[in-house]
């Protein structure tokens, strides 16, 4: 039963739904605890079979170590977010038992996405994930901003779906199959690639770019990030991105590896524009959540560079970067979630000012995370960037490397602007002191993790290179 974790999560999510609606005594917090346990248990199902390789349901899905690894990463991220949800004092509108259940459904969608080996199953799982995320974004239904963000996200999401379906239909019309394996066989038999295939792939790439918010398909990101409840922004900026990246990797490496020359160029454009937009766009932002949106775009551009060579090392580098990206982003968002003034959640950059005076330890943790995001050694972010740059230069893409480092200098500007606010500015009105021990420890954990990676980066390299092997087993 290799698909057991997905079945387990979906069945238990349905049970939780029943439980929450029929037993009014069960509070949203209990449901969240149960969800946490479900996530925790399902990780063991995955870990048990992590080095298996099997196609199931007639090649509808594939279970391999790459998908298992990404699933574990997603589950860890989701588990931490649900834990944030439990330990923090959330706005009243989020305190409903549907919230953790929806996260579970989104999780099922993402896990299926990662395993999908067929355009049909891919489409189905992307839709499952997106639909739950639309609901989550507009979860604060009395809040105007949240609803607006939900509508925006929904419109962009359905556009992305249309484009995806159109691309798929083109490819189906040409190949006569939606299975990745058969598309791969079809392509290896072609003497000259039909243009239609490339056009179809471009449509699919555009659709996935909308999901991972790679520029120039990033427009929705800042608005949705800002409008959505911060808890949901935390989700949006981490796990769906990882899942969509896994889809992109599988799609490009497995069936479409024959036309690497074509999609390589597209990825170059996507990554350059993302890095430029992500670094320049953030310069004038005043809202932390908007700034994090641009920071995400910038990171996405950086990660996309790793995929351009289409090699095993590239995917390894991406996996490592994704691990670091997850920890950095979760750390920063955990802090943003904790930013309250007089019990009201705030997220402006100037709210950070004077943090060092009131809470020196939190300020220190935050500074480590921000320097890590900026890619300043000796933090983890630097190691991630180093590995990707190493790969890019190995493939003689010097211009890309130069653009990457120059944009990362611009990006460093807005990270150190935050550090400036934290350390150098005087506070007019201080933030509430974080009196939540769990978030303090967690923030400390993220900071220490980012600081400690430099001592043993080999661990991550070994881990990721062992899981990416499976992707290349077929070719």
């Amino acid at each position: 039963m290799l698909i057991l974790p997905e079945i387990f999560i979906s069945v238990s999510a349905l049970l939780l739904l029943l439980l929450s609606s029929f037993y009014k005594k069960v509070s949203y917090r209990d449901i969240a605890y149960l969800a946490l346990i479900i996530i925790f248990v399902s990780q063991f199902f995955i870990l048990k079979d992590i080095f298996y390789f099997e196609e199931i349901f007639n090649g509808f899905f594939v279970i391999d170590s790459f998908s298992s690894f990404i699933k574990i990463l997603i589950l860890i991220g989701a588990g931490l977010i649900i834990y944030f949800y439990i330990i923090l004092k959330n706005p009243q509108s989020l305190n409903r038992s549907e919230f953790p259940i929806l996260i579970l459904f989104a999780l099922v969608g993402m896990m299926l996405m990662v395993s999908a080996n067929n355009f049909l199953s891919l489409f189905m799982s992307i839709e499952l994930q997106s639909l739950t995320l639309y609901v989550l974004v507009s979860f604060s239904r009395n809040d105007f901003n949240s609803s607006e963000a939900g509508v925006k996200y929904f419109i962009i999401g359905s556009l992305s779906t249309c484009i995806f379906l159109f691309g798929t239909s083109l490819i189906y019309g040409l190949v006569g199959s939606v299975s990745f394996a058969e598309i791969g066989i079809f392509m290896s038999e072609q003497f000259q690639m039909p243009t239609l295939l490339i056009v179809g792939l471009i449509f699919i790439l555009v659709s996935i770019s909308l999901k991972i918010s790679a520029a120039p398909f990033h427009m929705w990101t800042p608005d949705v990030y800002q409008g959505a409840p911060t808890m949901v922004t935390t989700i949006l900026s981490t796990i769906p991105k990882i899942a969509a990246f896994a889809v992109l990797i599988r799609l490009l490496i497995n069936p479409f590896s024959e036309i690497i020359i074509d999609w390589g160029k597209i990825l170059v454009i996507l990554s350059i524009t993302s890095m430029i937009v992500g670094s320049l766009g953030a310069l004038l932002q005043t809202d932390l959540k908007r700034l994090m949106a641009y920071s995400t775009i910038n990171h996405i551009g950086f990660i996309l560079m790793g995929l351009i060579p289409g090699t095993e090392d590239g995917v390894t580098a991406i996996c490592i970067y994704l691990i670091f990206y997850l920890t950095m982003n979760l750390g920063v968002f955990l802090f943003i979630l904790n930013m309250n003034r007089d019990q009201v959640n705030v997220s402006k950059i100037k709210d950070l000012s004077g943090l060092y005076q009131s809470q020196p330890l939190m300020a220190a943790f935050m500074v480590i995370l921000l320097f890590s995001m900026a890619g300043i050694p000796p933090m983890a972010g630097f190691i991630g960037k180093l590995i990707i740059l190493n790969l890019v230069i190995d493939n003689d893409l010097y211009y890309l490397a130069i653009i990457a480092v120059l944009t990362s200098v611009i990006a460093a500007f807005y990270y150190i602007r935050l550090i400036k606010s934290i350390f150098f500015d005087q506070a007019n009105d201080e933030l509430d002191i974080i009196n939540n021990d769990q978030s303090k420890y967690l923030l400390g954990f993220f900071a220490v993790f980012n600081l400690g990676v430099i001592f043993y980066p080999q661990f991550f390299l070994d881990l990721c290179s062992s899981v990416t092997l499976s992707l290349f087993a077929l070719n």
Binding site: P360, V405, F423, Q458
Partner: protein, 493 residues
């Protein structure tokens, strides 16, 4: 001889001291406990660092005290530390100046004293790491990490425009060094190794060398700084706290010169020859142009900052003359500038602590108020001018000698820099210390205290000692520098 892993110990010791500083009680106002731990840490680091010259084999040009740690599991990516004759003096200079800074801080009172001390200890650790790294990645990691404590030092404890200056410092240096990162990765890809000793034996085609040279140049030219990349320096100096300026001028600028010798000159000799006229041009402009700018400054720190740019011009001329006198001159000039500019910034700090302004016009006839300091300042001024008998003279003389053997015109023009240095430094001395006592200085102030005496006395001793007996440094550096010049191709310039 004990086989002590001395360099890792030197790097870790300040970090342990940092923990003690952080753990000491915050309650008392002067943060006495944390200052004591900082003094203990930095003095023991300094004393331990003396282990290096005592056990150093002067005849070996290669790296000594080598320690290697596995980092990434491949054989080629290792974290290795070691010193040779070139880097060893800088390690000692770093530990020495940090110790002086902490002694200088001791009687003072500042906001967030514990963090201030921690920044210095962190800096010390990173600086030792940078100078003793013998593989490219660990060099880069330490080199970049220095930005973090320095950014905080300028931004948190600086003057009025501190935030602007901190930004400028951070972004300028980051912009320079990211290009170096690409060059480093390229070298790794090309040779499959990042160890500097192994890279020294490899040769690259000329057109690749040129690009790599420019990438390294962008980093070190900003750091040292050369004209026209120097504009961050006056801002950073003016706004940084006294001790921050001392470290900035005393050690951080030397990273640029050290990098030029270690990377541009040793690894990329053909490109170095190609770019020598370019370097000569920039250096001569730096010497003359910044000296003229220094003449008209009204801020003492800014004046010294511009003079630093001019002095570093001599260093780059010396380095790219690439003969043994030039390299010796450059190293001596860097060490002596490290001591003299540190001493000048300390003195300006002492004056500032008493009168709370750095404006030259505010002062006049300060010798009647602070007689002891005015004598010390005169010695440092003479050192900065390059007066015979001080270490400044040796450096300037050797670099000019080297330049003369390569290019007479460069030597001729840059010699004017010595005269200009004399004019702006003596003008500064005259305006501040001599003449009628200014009305602003009515208030009687205490002359230097005992902590300042320690700082100034040790600096004066060293400046004069190295002026009379530069062999003390040169003996150590000769064999390593000899090796570089022997590997260097003969140039036509």
């Amino acid at each position: 001889m004990l086989n002590l892993p001395i360099l890792p110990i030197l790097i870790i010791l300040p970090l342990i001291g940092m923990a003690f500083v952080l753990l000491s009680p915050e309650s008392d106002e002067f943060a006495k406990e944390s200052k004591k731990s900082a003094i203990w840490t930095s003095s023991s680091t300094f004393l331990l660092s003396l282990y290096l010259p005592l056990n150093f084999d002067k005849s070996i040009p290669h790296f000594q005290f080598v320690n290697t740690f596995s980092w990434f599991n491949s054989d080629n990516l290792r974290f290795s530390l070691g010193v040779d004759g070139l880097s060893m003096p800088f390690v000692i200079l770093s530990t020495f100046l940090i110790l002086l800074c902490i002694v200088f801080i001791y009687p003072q009172q500042k906001k967030s004293m514990r963090m201030y001390l921690c920044s210095f200890l962190l800096l010390e650790s990173f600086l030792i790491g940078t100078f003793s790294a013998i593989d490219l990645f660990s060099f880069y990691i330490f080199f970049e990490s220095i930005l973090i404590p320095m950014y905080l030092l300028i931004g948190f404890w600086g003057g009025e425009r501190r935030i602007y200056s901190a930004y400028k410092f951070f972004l300028y240096t980051l912009l320079g060094s990211v290009l170096m990162l690409i060059a480093i990765i390229f070298l790794y890809q090309e040779f499959g190794t990042i160890s500097i000793p192994k890279l020294l034996n490899s040769t690259l085609p000329f057109y690749i060398q040129v690009w790599l040279w420019l990438a390294f140049f962008s980093s070190f030219a900003v750091k040292i700084p050369m004209w026209p990349f120097h504009t961050w320096l006056p801002d950073a100096h003016v706004e940084a706290p006294t001790e921050g300026s001392v470290i900035l001028a005393g050690i951080l600028l030397k990273l640029g010169g050290y990098g030029f010798i270690r990377f541009n000159l040793s690894l990329l000799p053909d490109a170095s020859i190609f770019f020598t006229p370019f370097i000569y041009f920039l250096s001569v402009v730096a010497i003359i142009y910044t000296s003229f700018i220094a003449l008209v400054q009204n801020d003492m720190k800014k004046l010294i900052a511009y003079s630093s740019v001019a002095h570093m011009g001599f260093v780059t001329i010396g380095i790219f003359s690439a003969n043994i006198q030039g390299l010796h001159g450059a190293v001596i000039q860097m060490i002596s500038h490290g001591l003299i500019s540190a001493a000048l910034f300390f003195s300006i700090g002492s004056i500032y602590n008493r009168y709370h302004t750095k404006e030259i016009n505010f002062y006049g006839g300060l010798n009647t108020r602070l007689p002891k300091l005015s004598i010390l300042f005169l010695i440092f001024t003479l050192g900065s001018i390059g007066f015979p008998g001080t270490s400044g003279f040796v450096g300037e003389f050797l670099t000019l000698l080297a330049a003369y053997s390569k290019n007479t015109i460069v030597a001729f023009i840059s010699a004017f820099g010595v005269i200009l240095a004399a004019s702006y430094m003596l003008l500064l001395y005259k305006k501040v210390f001599l003449g009628v006592t200014s009305d602003n200085l009515k208030k009687k102030m205490d002359d230097i205290n005992k902590y300042e005496v320690i700082v100034y006395a040790s600096l004066v001793c060293l400046i004069i000692l190295f002026g009379i007996k530069p062999e003390l440094i040169l003996d150590y550096t000769t064999s390593s520098l000899d090796r570089i010049t022997k590997l260097y191709p003969i140039s036509i310039f």
